[in-house]
């Protein structure tokens, strides 16, 4: 069995596909839908901030890669997603079209960006510490573990100053490496519940068809149904991403090949680590 995996927001823009007419088609759809053209990443006149632009760039790349794979006659038996990868994953499953995936990416991104106007938030990547140690550090600094990627790769989220302090403690506790990324909102934490009303209103404006290809979500590792999708799109922003559990579930269901459909290869690297431990 083959699984296509849709990664979350990239941390940087790359122009790898920008000269490909197929990518440009998706970029134009993005411009029409959101006002932002990822081919003109740095110079676009769009008023979307950098985080939302990166989210849209990631979504466009995933939609482009999906289109490429399909044009080669390839298709998955299952689909999985990580964080903001949910929108192109829904498009790949047949639940929504590409335009809706881009509109949702943009509107939800803009909604979260408003949180960043009131307070500075950050994501902190910690590599090398086990979960037990990191959970204590997160609790010490009143922040959250937002991504459980592998037994030694986690993402923390919360207020910027608190994440900074937690990373100092993580380093002192023996983390192999730490890095911080400023972000608009404390993604995948209960702090997002402050804007769930707004998010629910956005999601309610769209229709979700039954996925034609099973899409396994990253919280409880169950296949999403059309009826469950709107609530999941809000809940997933308030709860962590359990990638290791998702990958292990997919393997136990018989998936033997994983194809990352988006920017970079972070998910494949997480999988490689998980495989090395089993």
């Amino acid at each position: 069995m083959i699984c296509w995996m849709y990664p979350g927001q990239p941390i940087a823009f790359t122009d790898t596909h920008c000269s490909d007419p197929e990518f440009q088609k998706i970029a134009l759809l993005c411009q029409k839908t959101t006002g932002f053209n990822p081919v003109e990443f740095g110079s676009s006149s769009s008023d979307l901030n950098e985080s939302v632009r990166l989210q849209l760039f990631g979504a466009c790349t995933s939609l482009y890669r999906t289109s490429q794979l399909k044009s080669q006659g390839r298709g998955p038996d299952l689909i999985a997603e990580h964080s903001m990868g949910i929108y192109p994953a829904l498009a790949a499953s047949g639940s929504i079209d590409s335009e809706t995936a881009l509109a949702l990416t943009s509107r939800i991104g803009v909604s979260m960006a408003r949180m960043g106007l009131q307070r500075a938030y950050a994501l902190g990547c910690v590599i090398g510490l086990p979960l037990g140690s990191l959970a204590v550090i997160a609790a010490n600094h009143d922040i959250y573990i937002a991504n459980f990627n592998t037994s030694r790769h986690f993402l923390l989220a919360g207020e910027r100053g608190k994440v900074d302090a937690a990373l100092v403690e993580a380093t002192a506790s023996g983390a192999f490496s730490v890095s911080i990324f400023p972000c608009d909102a404390p993604l995948h934490t209960p702090l997002i519940e402050a804007i769930t009303g707004e998010l629910q209103q956005i999601v309610a404006e769209y229709h979700f068809a039954e996925p034609r290809i099973p899409l396994v979500e990253h919280i409880g590792q169950t296949p999403l149904t059309a009826a469950a999708i709107p609530a999941f799109l809000v809940e997933e922003l308030c709860r962590p991403v359990y990638w290791e559990a998702t990958y292990c579930t997919l393997r136990s269901r018989g998936v033997t090949r994983f194809q990352e459909v988006g920017v970079g290869s972070a998910l494949a690297k997480f999988n490689r680590w998980i495989d090395s431990e089993t």
């Binding site: 590599i127 090398g128 030694r152 983390a175 192999f176 490496s177 730490v178 690297k269 680590w273 090395s276």
Partner: protein
């Protein structure tokens, strides 16, 4: 340092990072492994740390040490040569 150790390090990189379709000859001994060159990142670094400990019994304690050790295949082989038990 021996050519044999350099070849072993190259093979360890290929195996631990599951780099498909690449042979040891294709990895330049002095080319940077991170950023340019093989384009490795911090996720790969920890995988290499574990592989080095398993295969050579050599510990890279933190990312600061790692940034020197993982500069190239030659620097990895040099570190292993110095610290191997």
């Amino acid at each position: 340092m021996s050519e044999e150790l350099i070849e072993k390090v190259k093979q360890m990189i290929i195996d631990s990072l599951r780099i498909e379709g690449m042979s040891p000859d294709e990895i330049e001994t002095d080319a940077p492994l991170f950023g340019e060159g093989l384009g490795l990142d911090s996720i790969d670094a920890l995988q290499l740390v574990v592989a080095m400990e398993k295969e050579f019994g050599v510990v890279v304690p933190d990312a600061a040490t790692g940034s020197t050790v993982f500069a190239s295949v030659r620097s990895m082989a040099g570190y292993i040569g110095e610290h191997r038990k």
